[in-house]
């Protein structure tokens, strides 16, 4: 489903034999490659989470309060810090709107991903462990969900129910299930054929016990590594929907809605696009980097 397309950077081990060209012994790149970016990513994610969680007690104006003159471009000489990032058309502080927009993006991203992880893992475990007819049915349902491009699915849902955070949450949760279902199913199939699972079965363990005690703990790291990537994809999906004006209804700020408002006045106030676009880009980039970092560490299918 998810329009993300991240394939990890190859592990260093697999690169070794390609040194023939120069004749010089191949020196593996330092283990710390990308570490600056990864560090930056984790710090940025921490910062966004902090801002979103503590938004109500941070010393910033309310997101719908007029803080200064309208269309004030970003500048450090704007006086108080809440005006450093400028103001929108009616003079609301972009900084506080970004902070409260982070709340929306993170809540939507994490809640929908949590639902997707729980349902996807459950269905994936069942499908991968029992196989047979139930596997066929579950895979079919996943294929049906995957046949809807995410945005089209969300648009169809908003056609029925007026846009609200609940509609978006349900739509995004449904669309994130197949990703986790497929990962869990593939991993479960691999683990369920291992000796220790057979041993547990021979010792008389029931299916429920084998699934929760033997298989699930081994599957969890692979799933967890995908969580940041899916959160990033869902933040993008929510942003696209808000950008189309069918997402979180105003006056609640959302990054997609802010970019949409800025695009209308692009000629005169381009910063109204650039400021939220930068924040959204950095967040998605950081989540993708974190996800790739975690996958290199935990995803067994990538480690040869």
């Amino acid at each position: 489903m998810i329009p993300t397309t991240s394939i990890s950077i190859r592990t260093k081990k697999s690169l070794r034999p390609t040194s023939a060209k120069s004749g010089v012994p191949y020196v593996a790149p330092m283990r710390r490659q990308f570490s600056a970016l990864v560090w930056f990513s984790y710090i940025w994610i921490g910062l966004v989470v902090f801002a979103a969680v503590f938004a109500p007690i941070l010393p910033i104006p309310a997101y719908d309060a007029v803080a200064g003159p309208g269309r004030l471009p970003p500048s450090f000489s704007n006086g108080s810090f809440e005006l450093w990032l400028g103001t929108d058309a009616v003079g609301r502080s972009l900084l506080s709107r970004l902070v409260y927009g982070a709340q929306v993006s993170l809540v939507v991203g994490t809640v929908a991903t949590t639902v997707g992880v729980l349902l996807g893992t459950l269905l994936g475990l069942i499908a991968g462990y029992f196989r047979g007819a139930i596997d066929w049915v579950i895979t079919l349902v996943a294929d049906v969900i995957l046949s809807f491009p995410v945005l089209v699915l969300l648009l169809a849902v908003t056609a029925i129910f007026s846009p609200s955070i609940w509609v978006i949450l349900i739509g995004l949760s449904v669309s994130s299930i197949p990703t986790f279902l497929r990962i869990t199913r593939a991993n479960t199939m691999a683990w369920a054929s291992r000796d220790f699972v057979r041993a547990a079965k021979n010792m008389g363990a029931g299916n429920a016990r084998i699934l929760t005690r033997e298989v699930l703990p081994n599957v969890v790291p692979s799933i967890a590594a995908y969580i940041p990537l899916v959160i990033a994809a869902l933040i993008v999906a929510e942003g696209s929907l808000s950008f189309l004006g069918l997402g979180i209804p105003p006056p609640t700020p959302s990054w997609g809605g802010m970019i949409n408002a800025g695009a209308a006045v692009l000629r005169n106030a381009p910063y109204m696009v650039f400021v939220p676009a930068t924040v959204l880009f950095l967040t998605v980039f950081a989540l993708n980097q974190a996800g790739e970092h975690l996958r290199l560490k935990f995803d067994r299918t990538l480690q040869s």
Binding site: M1, I2, P3, T4, T5, S6, I7, S8, I9, R10, K12, L15, P17, T18, A20, K21, Y26, A28, P29, Q33, F34, L140, D143, V144, S147, F148, P149, L151, V152, L153, L155, A156, T158, A159, I160, T179, R182, A186, V236, G239, S240, F243, L244, L246, G256, I259, N260, A263, L266, P270, V273, F274, A277, F281, V284, F285, N288, Q289, E292, T301
Partner: protein, 331 residues
Amino acid sequence: MLNNVLRRVGYGLLVVLLVTFSVSLLLSLAPGSVAQTILGEEATPDNIAALNAALGYDRPFIVQYVDWLWHAIRGDLGTSPITYIPVTESILQRLPVTLEIAVLALLISLVIAIPLAVLAASRPGSMIDRLISALTSVFLSVPAFVAGPILIFFFAVSLNWFPALGWVPLERGDLGANLRAALLPAFAAGITEIAAFQRVFRADLISTLREDYVSAARAKGLGKNYVMFRHAFRPSSFSLLTISGLSLARLIGGTIVVEMLFVLPGLGQFISSSVMTNDIVAVQGTVAFIAVVFVVMNMLVDLSYGIVDPRVRRAPTAKKRKVAKKEEVAA
């Protein structure tokens, strides 16, 4: 082989059936009715009920769905109760725009991704490889609604190279103007696809370059570029072709944002405007159409394995599993 194809097509048909069924079921939950949309706010309940009965909307859901499906199979997706234009006609009228944007987006991202992959694969692990990796990660994190306004600002507002919005139909005979209108939206839509193409192709190139026949070619004294383009390039492009097919399907459903932003009369814009005017018949037809295109493309990609690579014609073999795994990683 034939058995395999039939099974795959049968499964595809089943998915299509379920997809159209769930769209119809979902939309039947919508408050209000088609008659109410036609008659407007002042209509009396009696009038609404009478018109619904005349249009057949008072029948049980399953009967309505079978009726819709029966017409849809013959290419009739119903008539919009708001514009009175047949939905099939609207779709066919807008499909070329979306298709052009999607194909152009695919081409642009391939043109950017392939040289980056070749460059990265010729020195894996080097500084340039890591720089390219970082660059594609940046591209991956720029969704269309971020890329769109930024591209408009630099290339339409500041430099004035391209129009900021609007569409020039190809029928007008001016290919240059048509491409100028299509380029920015296509780039905005395709930019996130670059990363997947570059990474898959780079990985395949690296593993091909490790094959014995490549070493043999090098040992014969053939140049580095000759080996890269004449020996390694084609055998490595298999997965790239596969994910391009999937990516095209995704782009056809994913041009909504750029169509709204650049005001292009395509399918995505049709869906959004139908959603906003509460035109359930049009939404149902278009969503079903896009989903069917998606399923069919997936099926064709699956079947093309057998044509491109004879080794997978029988049971799922190692190669197919390898590709399937790559896709899973890519998705």
